[in-house]
Amino acid sequence: MESFDLVYASETVNKYVCSACWGDLETVRDPRDVTKYFVLCRKCKDETRGYVTKFYANRRRGESESEKLEAVKLLQSIGVLEKPAPKSIEQLKNELGF
């Protein structure tokens, strides 16, 4: 892992997240050089491998919602996942708050 100057490290913390878990980053002073900072994931710590932009992570999270709906429907249609049992009228009414 490479250490950066404070400006570059702060920019990285502001614009990027961890490439593995997409969690927030933080700066940690480089013990070998007081002017440099490591940018580490708060969760992955020393095992931080890299960064992806917050923009990318948020976009993928959004896309993933519709991807799941499609994937589940597909897997149910080909018998990989079980289709849920049909709900009774009473259950539907309950869920709708009647």
């Binding site: 892992m1 490479e2 950066f4 570059y8 920019e11 990285t12 614009k15 990027y16 961890c18 490439s19 593995a20 878990c21 997409w22 969690g23 940018v39 994931c41 969760k43 992955c44 095992e47 931080t48 491998r49 890299g50 960064y51 992806v52 932009t53 992570a57 993928r60 999270r61 993933s64 919602e65 991807e67 799941k68 499609e70 994937a71 589940v72 597909l74 897997l75 249609s77 080909i78 990989v80 996942l81």
Partner: protein, 337 residues
């Protein structure tokens, strides 16, 4: 070792692991891990149950995995780019013709959504250099391919990513997905495929500038033969790309492919070439040299052996053999003829 954090991303359709072609990188050696003949499947931390289920079906060294693709649109599950990375982040991405995204060495975006600050498209750099790192070393673009697949044997709405950096794989996968989509009237989602490692001979440059054919285990996506027969009928199924009529065989099918230099294949001395060692047995293998039986070399060799004119030798060869073959095999046949 599991991949940390992969399932913590908050994705509704989570990535639960990665399917890789090479051995793990040795941290002490500054080069990629050796190419394997099988897939190395790594599951995310917390996915131990899925890993065990996978191992039960496919073992530890699978060279064929049953998969389905989650979408009909190729671009939603198949990413093939030239990407450049430094300081832990992607600094440039290109389709090989134009740059779609680029950062300068201060981390400022200079190309976004295919346009630079002046609203112009930036052509892919001729020297393949995306920029320079802190130490002023050039950062080059590298081929990167990622394919999202669902493994039905896991019975999960979750995907694994097949990773490759080989030019040959990226070309193969793009062609095969395109062909299947065309054949199946635009539908890819739900077709049972077999993801396989297939041995193919690839032309690579040697340090002295000459070329040598080496055996590489490329990725091939093949439609499940049983499904193909049911869908298209026996005869038409045989016309599908790379369909071999067998289910989950060893995948050893050497074909001669004319290819250009794969920029991700490191140029190593002949003694180091991983292809000269059978990765299953660890025994050294001789490299295979393919010749045209009616090429100049073969005709002259036969003329010398039969003590005739090259034109007569060519006629005799044409009666006996056709196409291409291993040079050693040709010499053996010649000497026994």
């Amino acid at each position: 070792m599991p991949i940390k954090g992969l399932t913590d991303r908050g994705l509704a359709l989570p990535e639960i692991g990665q399917i890789r072609k090479g051995a793990k990188k040795d941290p002490s050696a500054n080069r990629p891990g050796a190419d394997l003949t099988y897939f190395r499947v790594e599951f995310a931390e917390g996915e131990e149950k899925a890993a065990a289920q996978f191992a039960q079906v496919y073992g530890q060294k699978p060279n064929a995995i049953r998969v389905i693709l989650p979408f009909n649109e190729i671009e939603r599950m198949w990413d093939a780019w030239k990407e450049a990375y430094t300081a832990g982040r992607m600094v440039a991405r290109s389709d090989g013709e134009y740059v779609s995204y680029m950062l300068d060495n201060k981390g400022e975006i200079v190309v976004h959504n295919w346009l630079d600050k002046n609203g112009n498209k930036m052509p892919h750099p001729q020297d393949n250099v995306a920029g320079y790192d802190y130490k002023n070393n050039p950062v080059k673009f590298k081929n990167t391919g990622r394919l999202k697949v669902i493994v039905p044997d896991l019975s999960r709405a979750a995907y694994l990513t097949v990773m490759t950096t080989s030019t040959h794989d990226i070309g193969n996968i793009s062609d095969q997905l395109g062909a299947f989509k065309e054949l199946n009237h635009g539908q890819l989602a739900g077709i049972p495929f077999i993801l396989r490692r297939r041995a193919k001979l690839v032309s690579m440059p040697k340090p002295d500038g000459t070329r040598v054919r080496v055996r590489k285990f490329l990725i091939s996506i093949e439609v499940d033969p049983e499904w193909a027969k049911a869908k298209f009928g026996e005869l038409n199924a045989l016309a599908l790309p790379d369909f071999d009529g067998k289910l989950l065989t060893s995948g050893e099918d050497i074909q001669d492919v004319e290819t250009e230099y794969d920029e991700d294949d490191e140029i190593v001395s002949e003694a180091e070439q991983p292809e000269t060692v059978n990765q299953d047995t660890g025994e050294a293998e001789q490299s295979i040299e393919i010749i045209q039986v009616l090429g100049d070399w073969a005709v002259n060799e036969a003329a010398k052996h039969w003590n005739t004119e090259p034109s007569d030798a060519a006629k005799s060869i044409a009666k006996k053999w056709h196409g291409k073959m291993d040079k050693r095999e040709f010499l053996e046949l010649l000497h026994t003829s």
